[in-house]
């Protein structure tokens, strides 16, 4: 009798946990399953190739661009910047090692400071700690340096952690999640509307990419920009498209959104930099 009661309670407890407040682990499983069901022909690891994982015609052109990708110039610039000495004789290599192959460590939750640390932020904080001016957040040198670092980090597994011993980390994740699913702007779109519920549909002339794999390949050379840009540059562009004022690059909103979106892609590999349309 005792055992029956206990197991009933146990089941109830589990039911409550799933129904009322699913945690990040359950969120992630459901998220990834959603895309696997929606695009059964796409091998799971291929989602890291963005819209090209679901569009064969566009993929051919992308592969032709990748034969000699435009971001190679950024990687070379980034390599020079990475190793060039600060006024104090140090360089970024003193912060991130000889090749900067640290992409897999970002973004992470910094318990001491109670905030999400992205790779871009870490680069600029290294510069500031050494008495240098920070780079801009969206394009130019920040994109070149992170292109070099990401290139040297290709193949690193995405394994964003939400430390269970710090409720603020979960709160940041939840904020990012709310941001992803909440409609914004005059056009009344949520990230999830285009990149989840109707991912792969045409919006005028463009097919929207699956959000599973969104955070893997940055920085990106976009043909539309004709230059490199960071993930937060793209976030801002998306918000402007739906006629919502963008948030500040590297502000809490976008950093938490990056935290959520990258966590959703756990298990894929970092494969940036990349070329996109």
């Amino acid at each position: 009798m005792k055992t029956i009661i206990r197991s009933t309670l146990g089941t109830l407890g589990l039911g409550l946990a799933l129904g009322v407040s699913a945690g990040p682990v359950e969120d992630q499983a459901a998220f990834q399953k959603y895309y696997e069901n929606k695009f059964p022909n796409t091998p799971v690891m291929d989602f890291q190739n963005g819209v090209y994982s679901i569009l064969p015609e566009a993929r051919e052109q992308w592969e032709a661009i990748e034969e000699f990708p435009p971001y190679e110039i950024a990687i070379e610039n980034g390599e020079k910047l990475y190793h060039s000495k600060f006024a104090n004789g140090k360089s970024l290599a003193d912060c991130f090692g000889p090749e900067g192959a640290v992409r897999g460590q970002y973004p992470f939750w910094d318990k001491d400071r109670g905030m999400v640390i992205t790779m871009e932020r870490a680069v600029n904080e290294c510069r500031e700690a050494n008495g240098e001016k920070p780079y801009g957040w969206k394009k130019g040198k920040i994109a070149d340096v992170t292109a070099y670092m990401s290139f040297n980090s290709r193949g690193q597994e995405i394994k964003v952690d939400i430390p269970s011993d710090d409720p603020r980390a979960l709160a940041a994740y939840e904020e990012g999640k709310e941001q992803f699913y909440t409609k914004r702007g005059q056009l009344n779109f949520a990230c999830a509307d285009c990149h989840m519920l109707t991912a792969g549909n045409l919006y005028r002339a463009d097919t929207t990419s699956p959000a599973f794999g969104h955070a893997t390949s940055w920085p990106v050379f976009r043909s539309k920009w004709q230059s490199m840009g960071t993930l937060h540059r793209r976030f801002a562009g998306c918000h402007t498209n739906i006629r919502a004022n963008p948030y500040k690059a590297q502000g809490t909103e976008y950093s938490n959104l990056e935290y959520f979106v990258t966590y959703m892609s756990n298990g894929l590999e970092f494969n940036g930099p990349a070329a996109r349309k």
């Binding site: 699913a22 999640k177 914004r184 919502a244």
Partner: protein
């Protein structure tokens, strides 16, 4: 949940047409009200629509040129967009949870 927003948007379209007896004083007041509403909604919701900003700027630009009728039309449009933003935020406060896959 879409209805409220649609009403808001239709109201915007309608308010563009209506405006009579606009003056320096009345349009200045309207622009001030719209700007105050903009700031309040920004504070409450944490975001704004790009079109609201544009409408406010257009209102100020028209006012500066002495085109008070246009200024009032733009200010009213801005006000309606700002209200629609508030409505969107209100609807979304809970609705977003429905989009999370289980």
């Amino acid at each position: 949940m879409f209805k409220g927003l649609t009403v808001g948007l239709v109201a915007v379209a309608m308010s563009m047409g209506a405006s009579a007896g606009a003056s320096n004083v009345s349009s200045s007041k309207l622009i001030k009200e719209a700007t105050a509403a903009y700031k309040q909604v920004s504070k409450d919701t944490g975001y704004q629509w790009t079109v609201s900003v544009k409408a406010l700027k257009a209102a100020q630009a028209a006012f500066d040129k002495g085109k008070y009728t246009d200024a009032e039309a733009h200010a009213r449009a801005a006000m309606d967009l700002i209200e629609a933003t508030r409505l969107q935020a209100k609807i979304e406060a809970d609705t977003w949870k429905m989009r999370v896959p289980k």
